[in-house]
Symmetry: C2
Subunit: 588 residues, 2 copies
């Protein structure tokens, strides 16, 4: 494989679009700085392609053979293909991407590791990527908040993929509302506690792919000084195997049977009285704060998974549409590939616009995570974009997956093709890591108005910079985006004012507000893509010509078919419509 | 059970909403005439409820245990629960609903049988209803077009459910484009032929639930006088067991593994050289015309299945939202059922608006099928509405199912609740019986402009009648619908003109046109519901008060959140935007 994708490489895969990743990384000014050395990153992208291609069947196998648990032997069975994929991921060094060099990691920026993971995510949507994503998150949490001893014990084996990690937040009665959790911790000595209670929705809780599995568990410390609600939650390290080699007192109670993302076992389990946990950093009642430092990364990861489900479906249905012969053009009797039918092209355009837009959004958020370490404006922008990055791709790349099935017709509805699985796998993303409803409340109720609306202004200013820059070269797109940004500003101001007077009324259509912001932001990113493509077109040759033309065409499609929706959204929001607030349970 | 649903009955089921069915039947002026005797129909609705409740587990079982085929024994295995359900359907007389009295049927109008089937469809979305739906269709086809001998041999056993029926249209290379089919028929004598070729996507092709299975097969007669394309297609009766008791020469080659609707085995199979078929009615090259007489019923049936998936998901998620305790109201610490959260109510409102609107649309189409037998205006209205009835519910009640999962959160993503299955079952409806893309071409390219636009005018006139009737009582809704009807008229006129000059350009956004028409028509039906409810409210008591209030509130929601979308749609269509037409395969 060449260090940069050559023309001939374009679309040789039906799984990912390397050319598009290269376009984002090196032809979008926003990302080059954080992407690092091009040759190094390209080599890793090549390796990611190899990983995808050499384990191409793992996803379908994992979907068809979901993990099973035998209560007699207490063994969770996982297909060999899953195990082989995890080994390959570890041996290929993919667990090391974002980890610090001092911990044995490669120290990649989130931008760069997002690029690599975007290739891998396209190849493995069924939850296979979740094993190490959670492990990476656990390592980062302990690294950021653990005591020296906790770091020394756990970070490196997690980074190296010898240990696995899980996040055990939810309980059966406490999913969206963490303050209702009931797990208890009783102090023993130092950072050591005994935990009891039950957890729900824990991904990767038990299996034999790792030497040890480190659960990060939220619980409330017993005692008078524990505050009520969210501020009384603490975070514990609960290893499957204790440091002395003995098993911890945790018990798997069963697996959840999911619609999709079936590679990753999802468990409910309990901590018995002898369950040992170590308070992260020895810091009481700091659990939610500690978790929240990971939230941005986790939400980018969910958005990325959603976007990649969309990209994969687009690539699969594109390949099908080019090969499948059926019907003829209007007024002709010659059979043609179905891509010649306008409605099939619309279905492909919709997928390209939504999923590549979503992917760009995730790259952008990742670059803001990187930039925010040194740049306050980036940090502010990131804050307001995070709920959008989690929610928008999970709703709109799912819509793209709907169209991927449609391109394939009856075949798309069968398990002989991956598109029906993508639709199932992607459906989880609207739910986990904070439902989209919660993201919308976070966006409108907190982020839009925080610091007197500073984040809203920062986002509007950033978008208007591109409006002005492209006013002459892409006047139609620039004008449309300018109007949309104006609507965004006035709508947010109006809702912000209402928030201080009647918050329930202001928030009644928060979901629509998030959609409006998402559509506006993604239109902005498409304007950036169209601008970059237009600039390159005059000197482009070979396959780059249709590539850049396609980018401009898709941007126009997005503006006319999608951005146009923001007018009705702004009108609805501006009218402070309250159907959802007014309707009573008895009315249903 | 009482003959009419009493107040206390409301929402005792999480599967269907009997009260809403009664509201449509007896409180919507459009339907009472075709619904027939209320007491008789109510007894059948009661029986349908009993069927649903007594076989409540059959759907989930059929989904978890899809049919399997053993090539060694050639046996297709079907769960006992499916067999028991089919027996109960037959013994309960449900196969007789729409069949003529002279054939042993009950002679119900399509309106009445749609009402009964709407209860059953809510209970069985996994394809269980497909066995007899196809059988009913086969009986009707033979009854309408068969020779006297064919009718005498096949109609009654099909009506009585002793025989099953299938529709064998598609082939692997010929799904949407029937003119490309390759199955051949060679004349023997009289109406007897020998058929050869392969068929794809045949539902219910083989299993042992019936004494015989009668396939209605499209094929082309060998010979010089067979016209090219669609006009050269003939329809044959191909029984599994021949009249002399010997097996016909048909061979199952395999089952398709579907994402949903798994109860009904979907097969690919072939006709060997000795395969006997009987030309329907002895009429050569009349196959498509004969099939098309069933098309309206079949498309109403698809729309109804989609609508019922939506209704079921709404009822399931409503029950969950009332019981599930989590989180607190803004500014409070008391835990509440999640239905108290505005965004959950929005998700329920969206489902109610979309799925009950879709159901009303199907009832309306069914009544037009009935009325069209004696009323030309109804026939014209039906023509233009049929593609909308097939396509709109399959896209928008699917959207409702998306929200049903969301209300249940993580639980909704598991197979412990039916909502994830509804989402999978419903996804087929955009594809079969003519993809939604084909429906859109039919609507805009044919129906909208046929008879110089007579159907468009008839629909607009019918809608405007309700606009005028409600101008004083529901002025906001009437005004909004009036504007939407105006947009519908001008947009259709503009596209109609373009059709004669540049058909490709006119049809480039046909999908959006269908959505616009569907949203406008469903808004109209919601206006009718709001009008009926408003009229009843002053004298209503008990549970009827919130029921009627809920109808008015949901109508308002639909107008503000959904009908509002038609402005952007009309603008897009009016601009003759051509992204989908202009984009070239290389641009992707």
């Amino acid at each position: 494989m060449s260090a940069t994708a050559s023309d001939a490489d374009r679309h040789r895969s039906t799984i990912f679009d390397r050319r598009n990743v290269e376009f984002l990384l090196w032809e979008q000014p926003a990302f080059a700085a954080q992407a690092g050395d091009r040759e190094t990153l390209s080599a890793m992208l090549d390796a990611a392609e190899d990983l995808v291609e050499s384990h191409a069947s793992a996803d379908a196998v994992a979907d068809a053979h979901e993990p099973t648990w035998d209560p007699e032997t207490n063994i969770v069975s996982i297909p060999d293909e899953t195990r082989a994929f995890l080994d390959a991921q570890r041996e290929g060094g993919f667990t090391l991407l974002g980890a610090d060099v001092e911990d044995g990691g490669l120290g990649l920026s989130l931008t760069a590791s997002t690029a690599v993971n975007s290739i891998i995510s396209c190849g493995f949507t069924s939850g296979l990527g979740g094993f190490y994503a959670l492990t990476h998150c656990a390592a980062n949490l302990i690294k950021a908040h653990g005591t020296t001893e906790q770091k020394d014990t756990y970070v490196r084996p997690l980074v190296e993929g010898k240990y696995g990690g899980t996040m055990a937040l939810s309980e059966a009665q406490s999913g969206s509302s963490l303050s209702d959790l009931k797990a208890k911790a009783r102090h023993v000595s130092g950072d050591e506690y005994r935990l009891s209670g039950s957890k729900m929705w824990t991904s990767g809780f038990d299996h034999d792919c790792f030497d040890n599995i480190i659960h990060l568990v939220l619980a409330k410390i017993e005692g008078d000084d524990t505050p009520q609600g969210n501020r009384g939650i603490s975070l514990f390290i609960v290893p499957k195997v204790l440091p002395d080699g003995s098993p911890n007192d945790v018990a798997l109670n069963g697996l959840n049977h999911k619609m999709g993302q079936r590679a990753l076992p999802n468990s409910y389990w309990s901590m018995e009285d002898g369950c040992v946990g170590y308070l992260v950093g020895g810091a009481k009642h700091a659990g939610l704060m500690q978790m929240f430092t990971m939230m941005n990364d986790m939400r980018v990861a969910v958005g990325l998974h959603a976007a990649c489900c969309g990209v994969r479906g687009f690539q699969e249905s594109l390949a099908y549409a080019k090969e499948r012969i059926q019907g003829s053009a209007l007024g002709s009797k010659t059979q043609v590939p179905i891509i010649e039918h306008a409605d099939v092209r619309r279905q492909l355009l919709a997928q390209k616009a939504l999923s590549e837009g979503a992917l760009h959004l995730c790259f952008f958020a990742a670059s803001l995570v990187d930039d925010s370490k040194t740049n306050e404006e980036a940090a502010t922008l990131l804050e307001v974009l995070i709920p959008v990055v989690k929610a928008w791709p999970s709703e709109w790349a799912l819509e793209a997956n709907k169209w991927a099935i449609q391109v394939l017709g009856g075949y798309g509805y069968t398990r002989d093709y991956p598109v029906e699985r993508l639709y199932r796998d992607n459906r989880l993303n609207m739910i986990h890591e904070g439902t989209n409803g919660i993201q919308a409340l976070d966006l409108l109720g907190r982020k839009a108005v925080m610091k007197d609306g500073a984040a809203t202004r920062a986002l509007a200013t950033a978008m208007m910079t591109d409006v002005h820059m492209n006013a002459e070269t892409l006047p139609d797109l620039a004008a449309d985006l300018g109007e949309a940004v104006e609507r965004y500003g006035t709508t947010t101001a109006l809702l912000g004012k209402e928030l201080s007077q009647n918050p329930a009324r202001a928030l009644a259509n928060a979901h629509e507000y998030l959609n409006m912001v998402g559509h506006t932001v993604v239109a902005w990113l498409w304007l950036r893509e169209a601008a970059a493509a237009s600039k390159k077109l005059p000197s482009a040759t070979g396959a780059d010509v249709p590539f850049y033309e396609g980018k401009v065409a898709t941007a126009r499609y997005f503006f006319r078919h999608e951005l146009a929706k923001t007018r009705a959204q702004a009108e609805l929001l501006g009218s402070l419509e309250t159907s959802a607030l007014d309707v009573r349970p008895g009315h249903f």
